[in-house]
């Protein structure tokens, strides 16, 4: 290129090479369009085997997506759980009901506390008696052994750490014998969900690798099928990128189709579950509704599918095309 320029008057050489570049760019674009159209046509020409490939990829993609949609919904559900945490303050036995009520009022004024409910020792004893069936035995007692109890609901904006700090502070108060945080179940749920998320990630990663391998194999077969054609194209001067292009597009179409199938499968499953879940939510008087991946989610699936398709095709093409040389 630099030699061509020095041979000619400067301006002419530059404009010539620019015209050539523009030409080459147009030719490149033209071949992309052609490859895209031809490979799509090839894919559609064999609807049955293409559908199989789409289904395999679609299902492999739908599994991790479906699982993570389920987890998202579970997380949504646990977040909506009414009064997720509560601190039980067991007061010293020498704190009487009036003092307890006073403390309750004081606590309720604090910004960190949403609500305080006083369970007086007499109420507690009566309730305990009624529930346990030991009412007569308890009536015999001279002294009520139960302490006054304050049920403290932390302000909703507090996260778990803040709630724990609040518990520690409450525990240090004079009148408080013990502050107990009732959130172990929530922690368990959260760690279960965390575990679930990790498993979905692992399964998802495995399935993605699987998808790439499946596509790689499909493209390898396509390359085998068209071996003679590749040889001839190379004989008349087709470069490796030229030969590669239609196969990359084939991979892209398989991947995009697989992504669409995955979107359909996930949405169909959600639609299928929507009724029973709604019914359940109504029974629990909750406004909960299943949330799907939505249009953006499906679009993402299609893009991911397309990228995986390209990756698989690239794998096959880089391994098998170079090995085909005209003999």
């Amino acid at each position: 290129m630099s030699r061509a320029r020095s041979d000619r008057p400067r301006g002419e050489g530059a404009s010539l090479s620019r015209a050539r570049m523009a030409d080459q760019y147009r030719a490149w674009l033209r071949h992309h369009r052609l490859s895209a159209a031809e490979s799509l046509q090839r894919v559609l020409e064999r609807p049955f085997s293409s559908l199989m490939t789409w289904l395999v990829i679609g299902i492999a993609l739908a599994l991790p997506v479906g699982l993570s949609v389920t987890l998202d919904n579970a997380a949504e559900l646990s977040a909506r759980w009414e009064s997720p945490t509560q601190i039980s303050l067991f007061l010293h036995t020498d704190v009487d009901a009036a003092a307890a009520a006073e403390l309750a009022q004081a606590l309720e004024r604090s910004a960190e506390v949403a609500q305080v409910h006083l369970v007086s020792r007499d109420d507690a004893l009566a309730e305990f008696g009624a529930l346990s069936g030991f009412a007569e035995v308890l009536a015999e007692l001279d002294d009520n052994p139960l302490p006054n109890l304050l049920l403290v609901t932390p302000a909703p904006r507090l996260d778990q750490d803040a709630v724990r700090t609040l518990r520690d502070n409450l525990d240090k108060r004079d009148k408080v014998d013990e502050a107990v945080l009732d959130m172990q179940w929530l922690q368990r749920l959260n760690s279960l969900m965390d575990l679930g998320r990790r498993m979905v990630m692992a399964v998802g990663a495995l399935l993605l690798v699987g998808v790439i391998l499946i596509l790689g194999n499909t493209i390898r077969l396509a390359i085998e099928n068209r071996r003679d054609e590749i040889v001839i194209v190379k004989l008349v001067g087709g470069s490796n990128p030229f030969v590669r292009r239609p196969f990359l597009y084939t991979g892209l179409w398989y991947g995009v189709g697989g992504g669409l199938v995955a979107g359909l499968v996930v949405n169909a499953a959600l639609w299928y579950l929507q009724g029973p879940v709604g019914e359940l939510a109504r029974l629990y008087q909750s406004g909960f509704e299943l949330r799907g991946p939505g249009i953006m989610g499906v679009l993402n699936l299609v893009i991911i599918g397309g990228l995986l398709g390209l990756a698989g095709a690239w794998l096959a093409v880089s391994r098998h095309l170079a090995a085909i040389v005209p003999r």
Binding site: D23, Q24, R26, A27, W28, R30, H31, L34, D228, E229, V231, I232, V233, K234, L235, V236, G237, G238, S239, N240, F242, P326, R327
Partner: protein, 221 residues
């Protein structure tokens, strides 16, 4: 345009297909290459289009020593050469038009230019009416002419033809040879491998004769 300097080619099986072959072909020459079956004619052409590399010696095409052409540059090299293959090498799932258009599509010509040039090439080999036909529905001679049309459609600098008239009757053979001659008259270097001694001796062009891989006539002294 094409020069061989003491070129030898030994196939991995140990067979010497070419031995110390030297010759020069000028730019607008038309040269015949002849010799018994297995003499090395196809091998010689394979070296020119870089389907193979020589075991020893130097091949220079259009001023470029082919040993300096990297594998990545081979496609570009081949696009300057039109080749008629001994075994046609047609795409059997594409029609005649698409077969002939292939070199133009590879070079990135636009749609209209492709149509114009393909029809001109098909016209030259007398197959204009068969452009929509599939190769399997054509006779051996017609397939051969499709191969010829594909070789010339890109207006290459060099034309290699390996037995281009093997399946053609004498009349058609003479016509095709005339077509090749007309190319050499407009500056294309033409090298034709052929058994048909009667035909090629009538045409009064230089003849290279190979015998068991050695050049016995027409080379450099």
């Amino acid at each position: 345009m094409i020069s061989f300097e003491r070129v030898s080619k030994r196939y991995p099986e140990g067979h010497d297909a070419l031995r110390e072959v030297s010759f020069d072909i000028a730019r607008d020459d038309l040269v015949f290459l002849t010799g018994h079956s297995g003499a090395g004619k196809s091998t010689l052409m394979r070296l020119i289009m870089l389907m193979d590399r020589p075991t020893r010696g130097k091949v220079v095409v259009d001023g470029r020593d082919l040993s300096t052409v990297s594998n990545r540059r081979i496609p570009g090299h081949r696009r300057q050469i039109g080749v008629v293959f001994q075994n046609h090498q047609l795409l059997f799932d594409r029609n005649v038009f698409d077969n002939v258009a292939l070199p133009l599509v590879i070079s990135g010509y636009d749609h209209r230019e492709v149509g114009r040039r393909v029809r001109a090439a098909l016209d030259k080999v007398g197959l204009l009416k068969r452009e929509r036909a599939m190769p399997v529905t054509l006779s051996g001679g017609e397939q051969q002419r499709v191969g010829i049309a594909r070789a010339v459609v890109g207006r290459p600098k060099i034309l290699l033809a390996d037995e281009p008239t093997g399946n053609l009757d004498p009349e058609l053979s003479a016509e095709i040879m005339q077509l090749f001659e007309s190319f050499s008259q407009v500056g294309v270097t033409v090298l034709i491998a052929s058994h048909d001694l009667a035909l090629i001796s009538r045409l009064r062009h230089r003849i290279l004769t190979l015998r068991e891989g050695r050049l016995v006539t027409g080379g450099l002294l």
